[in-house]
């Protein structure tokens, strides 16, 4: 069956690719467009490592049909830093030792970014809820929660990078 073209904005740039009709967005991002920030973890919607923002909303790219993204705005963790300057969330993750193996980190950052965009001053419970769909097997979550709260305290939610 013929591949289908799809175009969207990826981290602020126009990008296009060809996909199998039932191909998922994660596959297009990684294999087609070379954005390796979102990862393939479970393929079932359990782990959250493939989380991206689609029109500002967090979604799991492994469960999203690539062709359903035509004309939409996709944001991944790759687009968070401004050149050499880390996004405040990334800086807070570094300062709080919130990444160990790093596999969950892009998904965690994206989930946190979605939270702070809507709720710049979240409570601890709201942070826990926001990352409840993202699994980390290294940190025990505490450094991640601390990093997100620290980024919020520093005004990370006000910046829309």
């Amino acid at each position: 069956m013929a591949k289908l073209p799809v175009q969207f904005r990826l981290n602020g740039s126009d990008r296009a690719g060809f996909v199998d009709p039932a191909g998922n967005l994660l596959d297009l991002l990684r294999r087609g467009l070379g954005d390796f920030a979102p990862k393939y973890g479970c393929g079932q919607g359990t782990c959250g490592v493939c989380t991206v923002l689609i029109d500002g909303e967090p979604q799991l790219s492994c469960l999203t049909l690539a062709i359903s993204c035509e004309g939409r705005q996709i944001e991944t963790a790759s687009g968070m830093a401004d050149g050499p300057n880390l996004h405040p969330l990334q800086q807070a993750f570094m300062d709080n030792f919130a990444a160990q193996c790093g596999f969950c980190t892009p998904g965690m950052l994206t989930a946190a970014r979605a939270l702070l965009a809507k709720n710049p001053n979240p409570t601890r419970d709201e942070v826990v809820e926001a990352i409840s769909g993202n699994i980390c097997r290294c940190t025990g979550y505490e450094p991640i929660i601390a990093a997100i709260l620290a980024a919020a305290a520093g005004g990370a939610g006000m910046r829309r990078a």
Partner: protein, 273 residues
């Protein structure tokens, strides 16, 4: 090979589904794309519905209608559906809730499908459209009983009478992982009262049978009684009637039977879990 087809109207999608047994609706993708990613679904046609009616909510009147394509996040954003916020919040994390739909939840295999448990306690009907005609309302219990047979048509919406008093609707999901995990079991109860006594209460369980089920023994034990200690005790004694829980990676059937009356009693008494 899997093909994907977009349908601008619900009628078009219903027509295709009725005529092609290999056609399958994809909405949020949380069920269908799992099958695709695992290589279990490799043939047929996936249908995407772009009809705005599929994602419409009418919740302000006495009769509530929620389009099958409405997501858990949309339910949470709707103040008129506040009584359904607890079951909607119980589904996955924020990313899953942005994607997962009411219609999809009706097809989620146990121990998933907690939102359907809430709909069962509300006495919901499922609007099923077969072919190009108009939809017909099927009681949710009948729909669930026939779900495995398939071929019922396209689910376009769910309908139910709005609870007169939202505080009379209770929901609890029990999971081992905090804050979010797969259900050991879930319980929903709609407990309308008149003159201090319960009138036709409806109680439903998730993960206590192959599909979400009504707790008829509990309903009988509560009907016509004030919700006091004696009634709650009677409800707990009747809690296991008709249950057929499975043993799976989350819990054994024994464990589910052991904890159900405990959590039912706490829910009815308004105690924390």
């Amino acid at each position: 090979m899997l093909d994907v087809r977009s349908c601008a109207s619900l009628s078009e999608a219903a027509g295709i589904i009725s005529g092609d047994r290999q056609a399958l609706l994809i909405a949020g993708g949380t069920l269908v794309m799992r099958e695709v990613n695992e290589g279990r679904l490799t043939e047929g046609t996936l249908l995407r519905v772009t009809d705005p009616a599929f994602r419409q909510v009418n919740a302000s009147g006495g009769r509530v209608e929620i389009g099958a394509g409405v997501t858990m996040a949309m339910v949470l954003a709707n103040r008129d559906l506040s009584y359904l916020h607890a079951p909607a919040r119980g589904i996955g994390g924020p990313a899953i809730r942005t994607m997962a739909t009411i219609g999809g939840n009706l097809f989620a295999e146990t121990p998933y499908g907690d939102f359907t448990v809430a709909l069962l306690a509300l006495g919901a009907e499922v609007v099923v459209q077969a072919g190009y005609g108009s939809g017909r309302a099927v009681p949710l219990e009948d729909f669930l009983a026939g779900r495995e047979r398939g071929g019922q048509g396209l689910v376009t919406a769910v309908q139910f009478a709005r609870p007169q008093n939202p505080s009379e609707f209770l929901f609890r999901k029990i999971s081992r992982v905090k804050p979010k995990g797969i259900s050991v079991l879930s319980i929903a109860a709609h407990l309308p009262t008149s003159g201090g006594r319960l009138v036709q209460p409806r109680v439903a369980y998730g993960a206590m049978a192959p599909v979400p089920m009504r707790a008829r023994g509990v309903e009988r034990a509560l009907d016509g009684k004030p919700l006091d200690t004696a009634a709650i005790q009677a409800a707990k004694q009747a809690a296991l009637e008709g249950t057929r829980p499975a043993t799976d990676a989350i819990a054994s059937d024994w464990y589910r039977r052991e904890i159900l009356p405990v959590h039912l009693g706490r829910l009815l008494a308004g105690e924390p879990r």
